[in-house]
């Protein structure tokens, strides 16, 4: 039977097992929408802004582990999607974005709603395709999903001209697999590297496991636990890696990096052997590279060879899936005696006893940290938590102890404000049985507010925890420390009444001004299983995120809360902000 390009596309998506698409229609994709209308296997979520579509697909992918799919029209549809695509790219999220393009006959003529989609997205996708011939369509779709979901995952864009969606050909089915000579994501672990790594591991007197987003994306949480328990080594996790190893376990030192725990950063600094697992030595982790881990031999496990040696030189690289690499290490460690590290643990305990996450409470004021602690308590640590970007993101990462992977959903790499709400919607669609909380601030939430409307339409009840301090808090914190308290444009006047706003979107709004009301409000919100509840929580506007490695400093130069000799940095450090 002859089908048009749009019908073939929808057929392919169905064969690929896609059950949710987040999108927004427009001229160039009308045929695709017509074909979608006739398909009852795929649920389409009509967002209110294309950025929301991509973040929604992203949240869905992060929670489910499946490939997210977004569909947008040409021109502004695509440009609106770019922030979402870049967000997914930085965090290695499997995603296929389909964009409409003007007809091939008018490409390059500055046609209505034309942009060079493959050109614009080139540097923020794993790969992209422009389809101008219907005969190429099926293979391109197969390649797109293959590329997006294998190796180091990432977003792939398929830009399809309108005439391709209209043209008809005989559809002979969707291929089960595809082989690309230029893309071979299967990498076998090299035994020689395993042997070298084991030699370092058995000698290590001050070892530490530094685990990142790759442990989550690579579904390596089980083997990571086995490996960590077997070795008895301390483990620290990056912002992107939280949950792969249970935060509440005694071997877990908490997050590392700019706002990580004192024990994590000090242990990294003093370590003689770092086992980096699916982590990429990002600048928020390393601080000043010249001062980074001066005594350590580094073993780096990563699927992406270009992540190895990019910022930090390593001693042994193991290229491959985290799962395969850790299994190989476990196998090779069998029967081998490890060095005694009891002294190392004793040292770590002294750092731990500093209690770097302690914070001062003030009567009559709601501390943001206590909000996250209360959230953890009320949800028994079992919720999916999404966040936006800023102080609230750090507090959520610090005070909500994630014991399972794919529960902590945030834009770690690109740092995209506006991510949290649509990602929470995607998360809820991926895991309808779970509680989903979106921890946000009054700055971030206003970047994607319109998705409250989508959430009503598709019945995705989420609890919005708005840590409202009236400031762009992280900007304000830096201005306080490093710009002599010149608060340039970090104060937000004329905030909306979030309660009324939530109500006008058909949701429940609750304002929390007193500490005593905090927990009851949270309990009430989570009791409302089928409703989205917007908790507008007025927090201490002067609170800052601690501990902190100021830009330009080393891990051992952390600032702890409640000290008067406040942060200082130099121009070189400010360059790294």
């Amino acid at each position: 039977m002859k089908l048009n390009g749009a019908q073939i596309l929808v057929n392919c998506l169905q064969s690929e097992g896609i059950d949710h698409i987040f999108g927004y229609p427009g001229g160039a994709v009308l045929h695709i929408y017509d074909a979608l209308n006739a398909c009852d296997k795929i649920k389409h979520i009509l967002v209110r802004h294309e950025q929301g579509a991509v973040h929604g697909a992203d949240g869905y992918a992060r929670v489910s582990g499946k490939c997210g799919v977004a569909l947008v029209t040409s021109g502004p549809g695509l440009t609106n999607a770019v922030t979402g695509i870049a967000t997914a790219y930085m965090d290695s999220i499997p995603m296929v974005v389909i964009s409409g393009q003007v007809s091939s006959a008018v490409i390059g003529n500055d046609a209505f709603q034309e942009v060079d989609a493959v050109g614009i997205t080139r540097s923020c996708v794993k790969h992209n395709f422009l389809v101008t011939d219907i005969n190429d369509l099926v293979n391109v779709v197969k390649k797109a999903f293959h590329i997006a979901t294998t190796g180091r995952p990432g977003p792939v864009l398929i830009d399809i001209t309108k005439d391709t969606t209209i043209a008809k050909i005989e559809f002979s089915g969707y291929p089960k697999s595809i082989n690309m000579r230029s893309y071979q994501p299967e990498i076998k672990i090299k035994t020689t590297q395993i042997t070298k790594a084991v030699a370092l591991i058995v000698q290590a007197k001050k070892p530490i496991i530094y685990s990142g987003g790759g442990s989550v994306i690579g579904n390596a949480d089980k083997i990571l636990r086995v490996f960590t328990r077997h070795t008895g080594f301390p483990i620290t996790q990056t912002l992107m890696g939280l949950g792969a190893y249970p935060a509440s376990d005694k071997q877990a030192l908490g997050m590392l990096g700019m706002h990580g725990t004192y024990e994590s950063n000090m242990a990294m600094h003093d370590s003689d052997c770092i086992i980096a697992v699916g982590a990429r030595f990002d600048d928020r982790i390393t601080g000043n590279l010249d001062k980074f881990c001066p005594y350590a031999k580094i073993i780096h496990i990563d699927i992406d060879p270009s992540s190895v040696g990019k910022t930090v030189g390593v001693n042994v690289s193991i290229i491959g899936q985290v799962n395969d690499a850790l299994s190989a290490l476990m196998q090779a460690l069998k029967g081998k005696q490890l060095a005694d590290i009891s002294q190392w643990w004793a040292q770590i305990e002294t750092w731990r006893s500093v209690d770097s996450m302690a914070y001062k409470t003030k009567a009559g004021v709601i501390k943001p940290q206590s909000v996250i602690e209360a959230l953890y308590e009320v949800t028994k640590g079992e919720a999916i938590v999404t966040s936006d970007v800023g102080q609230h993101q750090m507090w959520a990462a610090q005070y909500y102890l994630f014991d399972k992977p794919r529960r902590w959903i945030n834009s770690g790499g690109l740092g995209t404000m506006g991510f949290g709400l649509p990602a929470a919607m995607g998360a809820k669609l991926a895991a309808p049985e779970m509680d989903v909380a979106c921890v946000t601030g009054e700055g971030s939430i206003q970047m994607m507010l319109q998705e409250l409307s989508t959430m009503l339409q598709y019945d995705t009840p989420v609890k919005i925890i708005n840590l409202n301090n009236g400031y762009l808090g992280m900007v304000r914190q830096w201005q306080e420390f490093f710009y002599d308290k010149r608060y340039s444009m970090s104060y937000m006047d004329a905030l909306p009444d979030f309660v009324k706003l939530a109500e006008s979107y058909g949701h429940i709004g609750i304002k929390v001004e007193k500490e005593a009301d905090l927990k009851p409000a949270l309990i009430e919100a989570f009791k409302q299983k089928n409703r989205t509840v917007f908790l507008d929580i007025l927090i201490d506007p002067s609170e800052n995120v601690f501990p902190m490695i100021p830009a330009g400093a080393g891990h051992h130069e952390m600032l702890l809360a409640g000290r008067d000799d406040m942060a200082s940095t130099n121009d070189e450090g400010l360059n790294l902000v």
Binding site: R122, L130, S182, P305, S306, G313
Partner: protein
């Protein structure tokens, strides 16, 4: 240090801009870049000359290898290789300078491929250094125009 990086990539639209875009986005330097299809028409061969220390070149090679269209990347500088470059040089030839210029053309194995009333167009090929030396040998005021292809190269061994 100067490195010659050789790529085989899918002969598809956009492949060249992916490579060029990578260099600009990551702040890598390109001295020269040549590209053309090979005997296999589905493949293009690209030769890039870049200057950077070993760490940077290692990153360049890895990042290029990561591009989906790239089938193979080789750092030719790290192995036995042949490199050649071709230049077309338009030279002002006046009766009193001709003999001198002819001498240099002979010395560098150049070929006069075009002649006008008072100019020669000379083809010089060889390693880049040879082309550089030829250009230096000619009185700079006599050189009207230079067009160089950039380096192309292959590995010496049968397989690499």
């Amino acid at each position: 240090m100067r490195h010659i990086i050789s790529l085989q990539l899918e002969n598809e639209s956009g492949a060249l801009s992916r490579v060029a875009g990578l260099f600009s986005a990551r702040g890598f330097n390109i001295e020269s870049l040549t590209v053309a299809p090979t005997n296999d028409e589905t493949l293009s061969r690209m030769t890039i000359v870049s200057i950077g220390d070993d760490d940077i070149v290692e990153q360049i090679v890895k990042q290029l290898d990561k591009l989906i269209d790239v089938v193979r990347v080789t750092n030719l500088t790290a192995t036995g290789h042949i490199e050649r470059e071709l230049a077309l040089v338009k030279i002002d030839v006046s009766p009193n300078s001709q003999a001198e210029i002819d001498k240099h053309i002979d010395e560098y194995g150049g070929k006069i491929v075009g002649v006008s009333e008072d100019t020669y167009t000379v083809e010089v090929a060889g390693k880049s250094q040879r082309v550089d030396d030829f250009l230096v040998s000619i009185d700079a005021s006599k050189i009207l125009e230079v067009s160089r292809t950039g380096v192309t190269g292959v590995c010496q061994k049968r397989e690499y």
